[in-house]
């Protein structure tokens, strides 16, 4: 058995003695990568503490000598004797000689998803789920999140996460505490946040703490915290869809820099999909992640986060032909894509060991656009031009500042904060026609709101996590948001309550109530292939969306090798916005006339079971749910299935380490087909007839993915080769229907897709 060298570094000594009880806190880190190690056991006398998903631990102890015993998986217990005289923060490192893979091989690092000490949080470190197969052989955090029950993708070709009957715009993605609008590429196919940069991911589907707001359905935290290291860690990856490089280093003893850059294209899919795909709109994309942190004093840390995400599709077609004996040039340009730029700086101040204040300032510029330009030039005696620019775009610029106070104690853990965000939102949708350069459809365009809208969102929150005893804790809180566009004002109180109870060491229960609001919405087409989604702000009569959710959950570990979770939830929402029936934007740019508020109802049960049996890891999740929408002017006022309603969603993933270097994994996904509206009847001699909105459900969706991973350590680092096969039996899951020569044809987006990637770390 490899020996572990146990390094203890006294980082900071803070505050004054608090009586006879001192607060001891710290982080257990992998010495080679600086990645925090969760679930390591810290033993002090007879007390045991587990590190959380960030590798952190804390406990109280009297002044004087103490012995820390670190136990990590099957390794020997390592001891370190300390003398503490005041509140102390320590870092515990593993020796560089012990590689990550060796730790993994022993199974000591538990794979899979973990419940935080706060039960509303499900967390994981990228390395813990890296073995699961993924399209394109690129490690992808968002795809891993979709393994969780209650969370699904919007479907093949659709963006983002759909959480408990929500929509993809209802997720709060935080990168080091800064909100990010677009954390993915290619409509959700690939995450735009390099797993190399992320030490831990936290996912919340409900029971949101009061410090989180602005979105209805979920909170996803990507934390890139890294510690000072005396080595330079470099990673270079070449993959089918995405390639990149990343490096982390510490230029001095108080500064850490991590930077990652990746470029990619979905063009290689053209080779693997089908030769009939020559015109498919493939994207080129790149992302840049930077995180730099510096301790400017024993009590203060500064960190800088920079995030750039760009997707771009551009396709140009031109040809000439005679039209009424006049030479005519046709030029067609299709554009699509988005750009998200975030720059944020945070200041962490720790005036006392149990008190911290984090202040964040950020700026974000988000642009989403898609459309088509047609330019026609007729070479008559005088050249005549006709241009049509069909576009749907959204531009959001926002400047925000937040300040969060954390005050920890034995019984009360208080969190409070204030926040302000100024935002300008500019949605544009419609067709603009020009004749010889002059706008000709001015009567319709001039009524459109093309200048954008200003929005101010400010407020405060406070909550207290009250630990009554070892079993019972409460977390009451309230968040108050004031929203204004300078003409209208909304005051949005959001009470939150979470109760957790530890029945025994193998069973914990949680119940939560949350009220959330959202002031910026995505209006999404019900048509699977339409690209006219836009972001609109709440202003005037367009109210902020509100959502109430109650849930109860049980977390159990029926045996040494099993962990499980069962949840029930009920969520109702109002003032969600949809396009009205018959909404069309080809020639009419007033989106305000084409949207209506709807209510939403979602309820369901979620089940998760993880098993860790020596070399095998298995994850089984199942969700039984129902998601509907209702509005007076849609579907004759009757409730109808939401486009993301998938009553059954099952996934089974198994990873098996064949040898210490080689592992294989497979994931089987099966879920109800998507719903959509289709005029499936015709009234003879008259009109097509639609019995109800979203009347057709596609057949059951299923696929099997497999992955093979081979890791090899060398003197200079590690090499990782991945082979993944997405949809190995090439199930032609329908994505969209089209009519060709009077016959219905299905469009399948992703048949079998093999992919490889190669990564070296040194």
């Amino acid at each position: 058995m490899k020996k572990l060298l146990f390094l203890t570094l006294l980082l900071a000594v803070c505050s004054v003695l608090s009586g006879q009880r001192l607060r001891i806190e710290g982080v257990v880190l992998d010495a080679q990568t600086g990645i925090p190690l969760p679930d390591a056991e810290i033993k002090v006398n007879d007390d045991k503490y587990l590190t959380d998903i960030r590798g952190r631990f804390s406990f109280y102890h009297s002044a004087g000598a103490l012995t820390l015993v670190l136990k990590y998986g099957g390794y020997e217990e390592m001891k370190s004797d300390l003398t503490v005289k005041r509140d102390t923060t320590i870092l515990l490192y593993y020796d560089k000689l012990v590689s990550i893979e060796e730790v993994r091989v022993t199974g000591s690092r538990k794979p899979g998803f973990k419940q935080d000490a706060n039960l509303e949080i499900t967390g994981f470190a990228p390395a813990e789920v890296s073995f699961l197969p993924v399209i394109g052989s690129s490690e992808d955090l968002l795809k891993k999140i979709q393994y969780l029950p209650g969370i699904q993708s919007g479907g093949e070709g659709s963006a983002g996460l759909i959480v408990r009957g929500g929509q993809y715009d209802q997720n709060l993605f935080n990168l080091n505490g800064f909100p990010v609008y677009q954390p993915y590429h290619f409509s959700g196919l690939i995450s735009a946040i390099d797993p190399f940069m992320v030490s831990g991911v936290e996912v919340m589907k409900g029971g949101f703490p009061a410090r989180y707001g602005g979105k209805l359905s979920s909170v996803v935290n990507f934390n890139t915290g890294r510690s000072v290291t005396d080595t330079v860690l470099t990673s270079v990856t070449a993959g089918l869809l995405i390639s990149g490089a990343a490096v982390t280093f510490s230029p001095d003893s108080v500064t850490t820099v991590a930077v990652s850059g990746r470029i990619g294209s979905t063009k290689p899919l053209n080779k693997t999909l089908n030769r009939n795909f020559p015109n498919f709109p493939f994207f080129d994309f790149y992302d840049l992640n930077l995180n730099a942190s510096r301790s400017i004093s024993s009590k203060d840390d500064l960190s800088l986060t920079l995030y750039v995400n760009r997707d771009k599709l551009e396709k140009n077609i031109s040809y000439s032909e005679l039209d009424d004996d006049v030479k005519t040039l046709y030029e067609n340009r299709v554009i699509s894509g988005w750009r998200d730029v975030l720059a944020g700086i945070s200041w962490l101040n720790r005036p006392a060991a149990n008190k911290s204040i984090t202040t964040r300032l950020f700026f974000q510029d988000f642009l989403s656009e898609s459309g088509e330009e047609i330019h026609v030039t007729r070479y008559e005696e005088e050249k005549q031009t006709e241009d049509a620019i069909n576009t749907s775009s959204s531009r959001i610029k926002e400047l925000g500042i937040t300040s969060d106070l954390t005050l920890k104690g034995d019984v009360h853990n208080l969190e409070a904060g204030i926040f302000t965000t100024m935002r300008r939102v500019k949605p544009v949708i419609g067709t603009f026609l020009y004749t010889n350069g002059e706008l000709t459809n001015k009567p319709t365009v001039e009524n459109a709101s093309l200048d954008g809208f200003f929005q101010l969102e400010a407020g405060a929150y406070i909550e207290d996590r009250i630990t009554l005893n070892d079993r019972l804790s409460f977390r009451p809180g309230i968040r108050l948001t004031i929203l204004s566009d300078l003409k209208s004002l909304y005051i949005l109180p959001e009470p939150r309550l979470l109760v957790s109870y530890k029945v025994n060491k193998n069973l914990s229960m949680m119940g939560a109530y949350t009220l959330t609001s959202q002031s910026i919405h995505t209006i999404s087409s019900s048509n699977a292939i339409a690209v006219n989604d836009i972001w609109i702000p709440s202003y005037g009569k367009i109210k902020p969306s509100r959502s109430q959710q109650v849930e109860i959950a049980a977390f159990f570990s029926p045996g040494k090798f099993f962990r499980g979770e069962v949840s029930l939830f009920l969520k109702n929402s109002r003032d969600l916005y949809m396009y009205r029936e018959g909404a069309s934007f080809v020639l009419y740019p007033r989106w305000e006339d084409n949207i209506i508020p709807v209510t939403g109802l979602a309820y369901g049960a979620e089940f998760l079971l993880q098993a860790e049996l020596h070399k095998t890891y298995a994850l089984l999740t199942y969700t039984l749910s129902k998601t509907t929408r209702q509005a007076p002017d849609i579907n004759n006022g009757e409730r109808f299935n939401h486009k993301y309603d998938k009553p059954h969603d099952l996934s089974l993933s198994i990873g098996y380490k064949i040898t210490q270097k080689l592992s294989i994994s497979g994931s089987f996904v099966m879920q109800s087909g998507s719903v959509f509206s289709f005029y499936d009847r015709i009234i003879q001699g008259d009109l097509p007839y639609l019995e109800r909105i979203n009347n057709i459900r596609f057949p059951l969706y299923h696929r099997l993915d497999i992955g093979l991973e081979r890791k090899k350590s060398t003197r200079w680092g590690r090499k990782t080769f991945r082979l993944d096969i997405y949809n190995i039996y090439s199930k032609m899951n329908p994505w969209y229907l089209t009519i060709d020569n009077g016959e219905l044809q299905q469009v399948t987006l992703f048949p079998i897709i093999p992919s490889v990637s190669y990564k070296i770390e040194f």
Binding site: N274, N276, F277, N279, F280, Y330, N332, V334, I374, V376, E386, A388, N390, T431, T435, P443, T444, S525, S526, N527, I529, Y579, E581, G582, A583, S584, F585, V586, L587, I634, N636, F678, Y679, D680, R681, I682, I683, Q684, G685, D686, P688, Y689, L690, E691, R692, I693, I696, M732, P734, W735, L737, T738, D740, L744, Q745, Q746, V747, T748, L749, P751
Partner: protein, 355 residues
């Protein structure tokens, strides 16, 4: 010109360009929809006009062949819950035997058909093999035209007007005129909205004129399409008007005109409601091509039931967006049970102008 470019050139290119991207993904796999059970459909807009009828047809799956109709279908009309009349099938329309190959069954009103305003009417359609289809509506009160004035002028017509089939057929008959210098007439129609109730309206203009051929076809009854200046995008109904009759000058009555070359028209008539003028005197200005000297114009102000209005609004939305493959779907308003379609009532007041 602008409309021509948009409709015939720009918009199709946009559609085809975007669709080409997607259709290219096709795996050439046929797709079978879940079987859609046929539904008995009622298409009935009932007033006092000769076009009123109860039409019974089927809503069948789009992948299914057209269905022949069993003529053993019974349609009963009830007034305030009491049987008012069993409607008689338009038997001359049936070719022979027990089925109709036309795909529908028409039940026109007979001469005694006189529905009362403010009363509730319902129909029961018993079609062999299907549950009884029912629908109910209330006949709205007639809103009287207070006055009609008009003026001649020269000007242009709105874009949407120029692109409708009615306009195009009009041009086919009478020749094209530059729309900017078209000779037009503006009618100002004044009426008093009934207070306290929701009222819905539509206006129709029939022009009867002499066409210079021997009797009995000397006079034509022609439905005129009109437009508004005040609204560039008004909701309108695509009104299928059968000009199957002509006004016989001798008797002054309408007679069948089976030889009229333009016997069926699609006329676009504006829909609106009293949201902004409930209980007030209201005037509406509409424009149309100037009537011929010596002709008569019959202006009809239709009071529609809410079901009628909602159904027509949905139809308007559907027609407007049916060429756009990316438009949101439209579910047509229906007030039937155990089937689909519409049974809706209207009342009408008419005024005649001699030019």
């Amino acid at each position: 010109m602008k409309t021509y470019i948009i409709k015939t050139f720009i918009a199709p290119l946009i559609y085809s360009g975007l669709l080409a991207l997607i259709v290219s993904c096709s795996q050439d796999m046929k797709f079978s929809l879940p079987e859609a059970e046929p539904l008995v459909a009622v298409q009935s807009l009932i007033g006092s006009d000769y076009n009123s009828k109860v039409r019974v047809t089927m809503a069948r799956g789009v992948q299914e062949p057209a269905m022949q109709m069993d003529i053993d279908c019974k349609v009963d009309l009830f007034e305030d819950g009491l049987l008012y009349q069993r409607l008689i099938l338009d038997t001359p329309a049936i070719v022979s035997g027990t089925i109709s190959t036309k795909g529908y069954l028409d039940f026109p009103p007979d001469s005694s058909f006189a529905l009362s305003e403010g009363k509730e009417y319902s129909i029961e359609v018993n079609y062999p093999g299907y549950k009884t289809v029912t629908a109910t509506d209330i006949k709205p009160y007639t809103v009287k035209i207070s006055s009609i004035t008009w003026r001649y002028f020269t000007g242009g017509l709105p874009d949407w007007y120029l692109d409708t089939p009615t306009h195009k057929s009009y041009l086919a008959i009478y020749g094209d005129l530059p729309p900017e210098i078209a000779s037009l007439i503006e009618y100002t129609i004044v009426f008093d909205d009934i207070p306290g109730v929701k009222n819905f309206y539509r206006i129709g203009i029939n022009e009867e004129f002499y066409i210079g051929i021997p009797a009995p076809h000397r006079f034509r009854d022609y439905r005129i399409q009109y437009a508004l200046y005040s609204d560039p995008n008004p909701p309108y109904t695509a009104f299928f008007y059968n000009a199957r009759y002509y006004l016989d000058p001798g008797s002054g009555s309408l007679k069948s005109n089976k030889f009229a070359p333009w016997s069926q028209q699609t006329t676009f008539e504006i829909l609106w409601n009293d949201n902004d003028f409930d209980g007030e005197r209201h005037s509406i200005k509409i424009i149309s091509p100037r009537p011929y000297e010596g002709s008569k114009c019959i202006i009809s102000l239709y009071s529609l039931s809410k079901d009628y209005y909602m159904y027509m609004i949905d139809r308007w939305i559907y027609y407007k967006t049916s060429d756009d493959p990316f438009a949101e779907p439209v579910r047509l308003h229906s007030n039937t049970s155990n089937g689909c379609g519409i049974f809706a009532l209207y009342s009408v007041d008419k005024d005649t102008l001699q030019f």
